[in-house]
Symmetry: C2
Subunit: 314 residues, 2 copies
């Protein structure tokens, strides 16, 4: 590995032409410069100077290296100055992973809100289950947006991870527009829903948890002949009259054409959190992104609340 200070000596020598002059320019003794250049030759594995008793001149290799040295040193200086300027500004890539529904719902607002931060580069990926948390924990990702069906009061997280509460997201009933239940004057009664054909996520999926819990209160389970993955797929099937489904309200942010949703009594709900390493919260880029995430979540929450209220008002 070449040494930067020696490259600087070489560059200076290339300009001055004598060891004594180089030494004076750099504030060293001539002997030090001579030794430094010898050491550089050792490191480079090539002869860099033709030395005579009274003069020293660069070899072709020395000249070549001097040219490179100049570029390298310029690059280092550039890095230093950039660093000096950009300290405290939010910049660099921030990686966010979210479960698909949240990604769909939050991405536009997030992008909007972060647009004014010039140097910040947002990378949004999707992940399911606990993978997101693991990725944040291992510093593979910076922020994970996860859902939690436990219905515990929001906590701020323990250990090296912090949780920020973003959304409270209850299950809603999705029915086709031409379905009897689409009539909002008719109340939704849980025990009668058991007779309907149900579409649900496969067992083991996080979003399946809500559906199962919903019917646990009435001591039964719906006939889930069709199990499909993906809220979008499920809603599409509902709109086409294949069956009905219970989906998190957040899923409605993707579009609700051809279907009607109803508020479910005693509906289980999930909480959506942003998970982040406590140590990374100091980073301006992370800080800015988290603020944007909270802002986006607040807007989504407000939209959902209004939609649910107006759905039952009629």
């Amino acid at each position: 590995m070449l040494d930067l200070r020696r490259l600087q000596v070489l560059k200076e020598f290339a300009e001055r032409g004598t060891i004594a002059g180089t030494a004076e320019a750099l504030g060293y003794t001539a002997s030090a410069v001579s030794q430094q250049l010898s050491a550089l030759e050792r490191e480079a594995g090539t002869q860099l100077l033709d030395r005579t008793a009274r003069s020293a001149e660069l070899t072709d290799g020395g000249r070549l290296l001097a040219v490179h040295a100049e570029q390298i040193l310029a690059m280092v200086e550039a890095a230093e100055s950039v660093l000096a300027q950009q300290s405290g500004v939010a910049l660099g890539p921030v990686t966010v992973t979210a479960f698909p529904t949240a990604a769909v719902a939050l991405a536009p607002l997030l992008a909007q809100s972060l647009r004014r931060h010039e140097g910040l580069q947002l990378v949004l990926r999707q992940s399911v289950g606990a993978a997101g948390v693991r990725q944040v924990s291992s510093a593979e990702m910076d922020i994970a947006v996860i859902d939690d069906w436990s219905e515990r009061p929001p906590d701020t997280g323990t250990g090296k991870l912090r949780h920020l509460h973003l959304l409270h997201d209850p299950l809603v009933l999705a029915v086709p527009s031409d379905h009897p239940l689409a009539d909002t004057r008719r109340p939704v009664e849980l025990h009668r829903l058991l007779e309907e054909p149900w579409i649900a996520a496969p067992r083991g999926e996080p979003s399946r948890t809500g559906t199962d819990r919903l019917f646990a209160t009435v001591g039964g389970a719906p006939d889930t002949a069709w199990e499909f993955q993906g809220q979008g797929t499920i809603l599409n099937l509902v709109a086409r009259g294949i069956g009905i489904a219970a989906v998190p309200a957040l899923a409605l942010a993707g579009g609700t054409s051809g279907l009607v949703f109803r508020v479910l009594p005693q509906a289980p709900a999930r909480d959506v959190y942003a998970v982040v390493r406590a140590s990374s919260m100091r980073r301006p880029a992370i800080d800015v992104t988290l603020r944007a995430l909270r802002l986006a979540a607040a807007e989504v929450q407000q939209t959902l609340d209004e939609a649910l209220r107006s759905a039952e008002r009629t």
Copy 2:
């Protein structure tokens, strides 16, 4: 000034994420890595890590610097490998300065001959008088092509400079094609030339030396009403019938349309040398260029000799 090894540590840390892991990867102890990164923060003047008792994470500035570090290190490696490959090959810029006539005469052949040396970049400038030697002496230029009217036997130079004899270049008489002297059956008699209108270089110019010395042998001086600078200019004036002139044979290499030249009896001559620092002769690039220069000079010399012989043969 940032230190390369520390930048390497930073880069490694950016990939691994922990000090202990970085230490293991680099074969150091964790303590060493910690100290190196602290030192790097001191050098950079910015906080690069957020340190807690049990973890350390890069700040935005640290990430930024890590990106730069990667580029810089790649550049250094590239320089090393280029250096390892190109050792012993002629490359780099070689700067040659020549007096104008020589530049015109030698440039095409020189370029031709150096074409096959890929990495070699030739820079040819013009200079007059002793400026070329001074520039070579101060390493401002690598090679100077100079003329010497002293008519001493060729010497190889003294001190740190070496002289390589390139050409022996006698004065010839240049007359318009329709001039009585253009008749080659009529011998050139020096004392009769004094009656002709002469064009010469200004006093003090090196090429004026020859003209003056020519007439010193017959104890007179021509009527030099017109003094012009530049052999090309002078030859042009001769071709238009303004007068006659004595020019070094080398000047004929630039083209002889409209004029005839005659060999002068007892003509003074100049010798053309390449001047180079003894210390730089070991450089392959210089060596190659000098060979090319000698080759070009030999060709020019041969051309001149033949032209002079055939001029008087008729």
